[in-house]
Symmetry: C2
Subunit: 398 residues, 2 copies
């Protein structure tokens, strides 16, 4: 183990008395991000004004930051670009992939996919016309359901509810064998576990940065375009920042070289600045070490909760090869239980209808945090502390 | 005049010795934005973490901020929503409008439109199929070219190069008379002059906030959907934040009520926080006062430059009714002249091939600034101070 996770933990702002098992939903603040964003606001926007696009390097941030993400997801440098939101990046990947496989009309996804991916695919099919369909199958049936009708698979590697992990290499190989392209959504993978896009021969990938990558609320997304497609993938969302010569202001679109063509409009510089501060921490992390630490934490949590809380039923695979970096338990009163946990400082997520979801993020969560969380949850379950009216009233976001 | 522009000027950070005539490209920093963003980073993201979506009101920001923009553009409250970039919002408006006018296949725009709007339309037409076309005519021909083949007009009200202003009311009325819908791009209108979307019966509008609305580099865009279309306009980019019940995680898309359905992914909270700080200033501004002040400044600049610099040729209409809030002059050596201006602290933009563009923003530019800018430009032109090799080497962004 070469990564010093005790050191990385000290680089995050973690509120006193809180055990934050929700870094898979919104990562915590890297301490250096406050100063970094402040510098971007005052010394760059404030003092440089429009010249910041050159002087502060804003114009190149989407590619420069993309290169730092590339290492974490096994992508080739120069083939990841930042911008927009994950939903938009999924749309871009889908539209390009469908155009590259013009004789086919089916997008294959699964019911464990994050709904926004399905909604974006649905919207694209409506725009393309009635010949196009989104076929959604059970997660365990994906491999079998890839046939010669499928143009592209759109799969989220790690299930946002259960933490079940797909086999990216096997599904991608199957897609290629059947003449389909493979798009991977890395929302719960990037920064959660080692990803090897290049080694898996993925065609496209997209992900967000506000979860494990700690870029803050609404941080930008990324998209990966495999080098072999870089000059073929034609953007459907063809914005000026993805033009070969944005400042020529030509009346017709000509795509930029490679992944940069997937830029659309003006990038969100303040959010990118926060992300850069987080990536300073990530630069010191070895992804194999991260995986070792993550599996130890999730194993510890599963064992502790199962030993103390027999009414909580594990929704996450026990098999390491099938597990992301979160652990979910099911309980019919999951919502109230999560509220009771939050009231005691253990922050996780509830996901309808019955999922209690906890994320394990070695950069700032360690064995003692997990032990403390197990003790609190055990107390809540053994003494029915969740059974209070105030924990049963649902707020809009949980 | 009820707006105190001397007071608003004191609320912006304006670097010493700089006359910033580029608020139409990137607005300056509202002094309060630094503290507002810092609070969002540390007290909200840092201390509230995931609970910020409720506790800090992040979830409602796109609609809450949209309502404050609505007043500035003559939109009905509840019908403007923030997010993404202007290019994405243009795409959404176009896709919805085409679907609402299903027997027609032509998007009509003009060569004075900002190229990204044309590129997005081009991309949408490619996705929709060969029956769809983007027809681009000269700006002065738009009214005449609206015929029964046109599904939708996509017009930028104020030309980004010349500052020439279209007649929104007349063009919208003509579009409706011919059975077309009208989309307005307000990039150089929102915060630049009074806009009356409701009174003009506009169908859709979109705009950015980093120019006259001072939200900082990469600030979010907005989209307006006319109330009469609010329940009919179906989003092509159907993301989870525009779903009727985003946290139900349904597998199928159901649009939210009204303009909120145009939300796509997770909104950029840090950028929205900066925008809110700027809108605190905008709340005190009467748009009629702004227009009076803006026309006085542009008149002053035109008169001063024409009197002193006979080789600079006015590209902006003299007629107040046809003018936005910028003044552009043409000169074959426009690039070098702009570099010489910047070297002397007068910041404007060069736009290919020969446009020297200056924005006039009464919130922080006054008569004395304009007089000082005229004196500097006159000196540069009368003494050929632009004629130096270092001013002729083009940077990537200018």
């Amino acid at each position: 183990m070469t990564t010093d996770f005790a050191a990385t933990k000290r680089l995050f702002h973690l509120p006193e008395g809180m055990i934050y098992l929700d870094g898979n939903s919104l990562g915590p603040l890297p301490k250096s991000a406050a100063a970094r964003v402040a510098k971007t606001v005052t010394a760059e926007w404030g003092d440089m004004l429009i010249t910041g696009w050159n002087k502060a390097g804003w114009m190149d941030m989407p590619m420069r930051v993309g290169d730092r993400i590339a290492r974490l997801i096994g992508a080739e440098a120069g083939h990841v670009v930042m911008g927009d939101t994950l939903s938009i990046k999924v749309y871009q990947a889908l539209a390009s992939a469908l155009e590259m496989n013009p004789t086919r009309r089916v997008i294959l996804s699964d019911t464990g996919n994050f709904p926004s991916d399905l909604y974006m695919a649905e919207g694209l099919c409506r725009t393309l016309g009635p010949a196009y369909t989104l076929k959604t199958v059970a997660p365990e049936d994906v491999w079998d359901q890839i046939d010669e009708t499928v143009a592209v698979t759109l799969i989220t590697e790690v299930d946002y509810r259960t933490g079940r992990k797909h086999d990216m290499k096997a599904i991608t190989a199957r897609a290629h064998e059947k003449g389909a392209l493979a798009i991977w959504d890395l929302a719960h993978s990037a920064g959660a576990l080692p990803v090897d896009l290049s080694g898996c021969n993925a065609d496209f990938a997209a992900g967000c940065t506000y979860k494990y990558l700690n870029s803050g609320p609404g941080g930008p997304a990324f998209i990966y375009v495999a080098p072999r497609h870089a000059e073929r993938a034609r953007p459907a969302l063809s914005g000026w920042q993805g033009h070969a010569a944005p400042f020529a202001f030509d009346l017709s679109y000509r795509p930029a070289t490679g992944a940069e063509r997937m830029r659309v409009g003006t990038p969100p510089i303040l959010q990118l600045a926060a992300l850069e501060a987080s990536l300073d921490i990530w630069d010191s992390v070895d992804m194999a070490d991260l995986r070792t630490a993550s599996l130890a934490l999730t194993d510890q949590f599963i064992a502790g909760i199962e030993a103390a809380c027999p009414t909580l039923h594990l929704a996450t695979p026990r098999d390491h090869g099938l597990r992301g970096s979160q652990v979910s338990f099911r309980h019919p009163e999951g919502y109230a239980i999560m509220q009771a946990m939050i009231a005691r400082g253990v922050i996780g997520d509830f996901r309808a209808p019955d999922i209690i979801r906890c994320g394990f993020t070695p950069l700032f969560i360690d064995e003692s945090d997990v032990a403390a969380a197990i003790a609190i949850i055990s107390d809540i379950m053994q003494n029915n502390l969740w059974d209070r009216p105030e924990y049963k009233t649902r707020a809009k976001v949980t």
